[in-house]
Amino acid sequence: MKIRIKFRKYGVMKFIGHLDVMRFFQKAIRRSGLDIVYTEGYSPHQVMSFAAPLGLGLTSDGEYMDIELHSSPEPAEALHRLNEQMVEGIEVVDYRMLKQQSHSAMSVVAAADYEISCRYRPASFFEDSAILEHFLNEEHILIEKKTKKSVQMVDIRPMVYSACMEFIEKKPVLRVRLAAGSSRNLKPELLLDALCTYAGCERGAFDYLIHRTELYADISANEEEVRSFVPLSAYETEAEVCAGM
């Protein structure tokens, strides 16, 4: 049976990279005693896949991984057993069975929400909301994207689904929903580069705190429609809910 697990990553665990988080979970699952399925062959590995890697330095309330088990305890019990094996900075918040004919989180992830705040003095576009407004009114926003081989011009505007400025405890926070996944993917850092260029300021390497809040699957009927999304925890999962929060 396939299981979708949602977890938070916070505190000092932001310094643990994606591959090491995977290794951490592989060992945690072994410690928890969950009856995970292994691949065949001389070097068997656990059937486990993550929805979307989270960059070093970012925190998240909405990370997902799918695993396959031979058998599972009650979701509440499984959640408890997993959390017993976590360290400070990783918490499992949701554990759900996937439907029979389901797709992996990695293949269906289509969007991600982020909360971006300023570590130091707020940048101009945080204080002057008109900048963001104008930015979003642009039809195309071309930026340079460096790959290993070449530098390409990419239009990132279609990958910004929404963006707005909010105040949380009197501090300005930029909330965005960006394309995520294998076909289209926009890293929040790239959006910040574009915004900084647009606002005419420099982006310092550590100016922003980026926090992912949720990952979504796309349930729009077709390309033309206004996009509609559901969180991965509600996509192709069984109705019975066990939320840890």
């Binding site: 505190g11 000092v12 665990m13 310094f15 643990i16 990279g17 090491d20 290794r23 951490f24 592989q26 060992k27 945690a28 699952i29 072994r30 410690r31 005693g33 292994y38 001389y42 070097s43 068997p44 590995h45 070093l56 330095g57 094996q85 360290v87 400070e88 900075g89 390497a205 550590f206």
Partner: protein
Amino acid sequence: MRKLALSEELLLQVEKPARYIGNEVNSVMKRKEDVAVRFVMCFPDVYEIGMSHLGIQILYDMFNRWDDIWCERVYSPWPDLDAQMRREHIPLFALESQDPVKAFDFLGITLQYEMCYTNVLQILDLSQIALRAKDRTWDDPIVIGGGPCTYNPEPIAEFFDIFYIGEGETVYRELMDVYIRAKEEGVSREEFLFRASHIPGLYVPSLYEASYDEYGRLTAFTPVREDVPKTVARQVVEDLSAACYPKAPVVPFIKATQDRVVLEILRGCIRGCRFCQAGMVYRPLRERNVEVLKKLAVDMLKNTGHEEISLSSLSSSDYRELSELITFLIENIGSTAVNISLPSLRIDTFSLDVMSKIQDVRKSSLTFAPEAGSQRMRNVINKGLTEEMILEGAGQAFEGGWNKVKLYFMLGLPGETTADLLEIAHLSEKVARRYYEIPKENRNGKCQITASSSFFVPKPFTPFQWAPMNTKKEFLDKAKIVNDEMKRQHNRKSLKYNWHEADLSVLEGVLARGDRKVSSVILRAYEKGCMFDSWSDFFDNQKWMSAFEECGLDPAFYANRERDTGELLPWDFIDIGVSKRFLLNEYERAKQADVTRNCRQGCSGCGAARYKSGVCYENQN
């Protein structure tokens, strides 16, 4: 939530920030208010190397079982962070509490190889602890060293307050109690060190004085006070099965060099190879009870989630219940996708059968360590491996489907001739030839025989402790002789030969048998920027050589000189249990190419029997 010692900006700038944040599974958090002694254990190399070390995991577990002690860890900051810490005057900190090392009661440093000595100074320097022990006050932690290099601690004696000679499981509790009492009584640091010097196995360098003759040779080594012991006796665990062992070792987030459960099945070695320090200083061979090991294996895998378990020892084949242990592991653990790895195993029918069960034959290679090419030379070094045994083992392996063999040799062994060197190539050729004797249809393509040679470094407390080491030129000339001969072999296309870096070996030779004077060179080299010397990217021989020159010391005096057997050696004040008489006798036998039987074939009276344990008493109960 714990507050980190380093800022987020800094952590995101350096390579692998996970090295510095602690928080690992099974790491131990206590409240500093609840403990009497704070101990920080250091492996002076990068985190991934240090976290792979079994000794620290054992001591970390032992200390933290005591309610009144909190033991934490620290490793060498990588040069990228090192530079930032110096620039911003950030003090080095322990991983668990993130508190400055300087605030601790003890800084324990494990000394596993000589090339870490400049890293010891880096640790002290970044911790803002005075580099020389004589300059320290009660504001500094007590700096204590342990591990194999303490069998000649003299080159680094000036940097340590105490050395712990022997196995860590024995007298640390006593030291902690003496420390707690000294603190309660408010005595001076000197008084505490004096008291510590009376605990068996503890060596306080400041309480001893060395004098030298006009050539620089040691003439006397004596305590500065009448009431300080003249010799320091190595500490030995008598019952390994009863000794503490971590059931839940710390599991790093990033991949450590040793990313697996390590099960120490035995300690010591019966073989008595004359070049091998470990084979002498860990005597007698003591086995851990097989039932204890089975339980440990299960518990450790469960508590860590590791996917691999490795047996650790100097020679696993000498564990008498190996077959039972391996069968248990295969039947009870192998089924849960756990890899079993068996290093230091003699290649024979049993081990090949086991290996074919637990690994992919086509991918794995077999390793033999003949150490020398000719039988004469193997007799000189007392390596009880014959050509027949190698060819028989290799032949069986080839017929079992293996086609990769690694052969380890040493160059520069005492009494080595050109004929001995040529035999390295010839032996490699014979192994290859054995492979091609198998009919073409039954073999698996070409074979790959890789011969590697390291340069022999004479070590203290071995029969070769008096022997001269080769110079760099001699080493490289020898490597060339072997390499040329390899190219003349019929199956040369199946043979590969590589050899170690010579400069590093020569320096290791100096540090291994150096005296107190050498500490000025180490300090000078560090001041010139030497660090991470065991990493070829960072090793700078030029700096070291100019440090020797500036300190007026000649590396050849330490490395290349044959010592008179009557000369007082810098490490003679340590009593390892194996007598100097035995070592000397072995040195003489080596010159005659006489083989000495191993401990199970019969006792040769080395002296280790006084520990009343292990192989010395195997058949007497």
